[in-house]
């Protein structure tokens, strides 16, 4: 039997990516392009959408060429329905609707957060972990239970990646390849730990207060030579990552799961991985993490997750192929996981 093949479009934030995958998780092509703003600036919806408009079609061509797959061989066309920024999401949605009609292939709408989880599972082989999903737009501790990915803890204000990105703007660090990467490198040179607020509230975390605190005190401290930019990066990372490890550990105890999978853009931070690995080993569990190819938004994760849904009979009629800024992880019925459960029980 011919292998099932899907093409996936991701454009919910500042990356636009097109991936082509098979059902066993083999990635045939996964090109992407990142909208990088000047130091001190974030990315805004309209400018980001224009970036995506310029790059999406060359990426489709490149993905088809690299994979040596023809449109006829593709079984379904997947796209990110949400969550994310509206205008950038629309770019993928429009291209997918046109291609679906030109190629006469069905559409599958995909939840961005679920796609991160499924990509992480297939790449690392983690079977049933507690998932820490950390990126510029999301911070959630998730575990699968009875058909859905349930959120056990999350941020009550801004995402951890947003906190790091915005602090990078204060220091005017480069956004290339990403602000978080540059904070991580600078943090390695930090020597003094500066006390910052620590904001864990039950199963949830809060980052906006920490950001305000460090934004207002950084300039003064740097001017008086009380600390270096490296010290601040180091202290911020240690503080926010400790918070994340704490709520992840609590979710593990609650769900009685041993392993942790970290996904999302902040997930490629090696300091976060180290701290989480220490915690897991103390609980006789394992840490599963991936590098920037899979952690950071990409088209393949959308293609793969869409394909899982497609082979379980899920398709999105074109008139329903909308996009939405808010789309919670637990709204998705993960039918493919139920099939896995049946196989295991049977």
């Amino acid at each position: 039997m011919k292998k099932k093949i899907a093409i996936g479009f991701e454009g919910s934030a500042n990356k636009i990516g097109v991936g082509i995958v098979t059902l066993d998780g083999t990635i045939l092509a996964n090109p992407r392009h990142t909208y990088i703003t000047p130091p001190g600036h974030g990315f805004l919806p309209r400018e980001t959408a224009h970036h995506h408009l310029d790059h999406v079609l060359p990426l489709v061509k490149s993905a088809l060429e690299t994979s040596q797959v023809t449109p006829e061989e593709i079984d379904c066309i997947c796209y990110t329905k949400g969550p994310g920024m509206g205008a950038p999401l629309q770019v993928s949605a429009i291209v997918v609707r046109v291609l679906s009609q030109l190629w006469k292939k069905p559409i599958v709408a995909v939840n961005h957060c679920v796609a991160h989880i499924e990509m992480g599972r297939v790449v690392t082989g983690a079977d049933d972990p507690v998932v820490l999903y950390v990126s510029g737009g999301n911070t959630q501790v998730i575990a699968y239970s009875e058909g859905r990915y349930r959120i056990f803890g999350e941020t009550i204000d801004i995402a951890v990646g947003n906190c790091l990105d915005r602090f990078a703007r204060v220091l005017k660090l480069s956004n290339d390849p990403s602000p978080g990467y540059n904070i991580e490198q600078l943090a390695k040179k930090g020597e003094n730990f500066i006390d910052l607020p620590y904001a864990v509230k039950g199963m949830d975390v809060s980052f906006s207060g920490i950001l305000s605190y460090i934004e207002t005190t950084a300039e003064e401290k740097l001017k008086n030579n009380e600390c270096t930019p490296a010290d601040l990066c180091y202290s911020l990372q240690e503080t926010v990552f400790a918070m994340l490890v704490e709520i992840t550990e609590r979710a593990m105890a609650h769900c009685d799961k041993k392993d942790v999978l970290i996904v999302g853009g902040v997930g490629c931070n090696e300091r976060l991985q180290d701290m989480m690995r220490t915690m897991c080993s103390e609980r006789d569990g394992k840490l599963f993490a991936t590098d920037d190819r899979y952690c950071i938004d990409n088209g393949a994760m959308i293609a793969y997750t869409g394909l899982l849904a497609f082979v379980n009979g899920i398709e999105t009629p074109i008139q329903d192929s909308t996009f939405t800024q808010r789309f919670r992880t637990d709204e998705v019925h993960a039918v493919w996981r139920e099939k896995e459960d049946l196989v295991l029980e049977g």
């Binding site: 224009h50 205008a87 429009i94 609707r97 909308t322």
Partner: protein, 96 residues
């Protein structure tokens, strides 16, 4: 102008501002593909901006109406961006 319009006139909603856009495609099939792709996304403020689309022969016709010039411009410009994207996609991948 908007600031001086009394509340009553606001409630009646005068669709004072309008514009039309016609785009010719290579075939009716392509015009219909563009129409179907763009009709999915509704206007974000339907009480302030209306968009009506139709296809006849090879032509996609779009009619906008708004209660403020500012909103008309914003909707029109956003629509032209996605219309251009749909058209480019058809040109690039619609060759038989």
């Amino acid at each position: 102008m908007a600031a001086t319009v009394p509340a009553i006139a606001r409630a009646e909603q005068n669709w004072d501002f309008s514009c039309n856009l016609d785009v010719n495609f290579e075939s009716e099939e392509h015009a219909l593909i563009a129409y179907t792709s763009l009709a999915v996304d509704k206007e974000l403020q339907p009480d302030k901006v209306k968009r009506v689309m139709s296809v006849s022969n090879n032509k996609l016709s779009v009619h906008f109406e708004a209660i403020e010039a500012r909103l008309l411009r914003a909707s029109f410009s956003a629509f032209v961006d996605v219309l251009t994207l749909a058209t480019k996609t058809i040109q690039e991948f619609g060759q038989k």
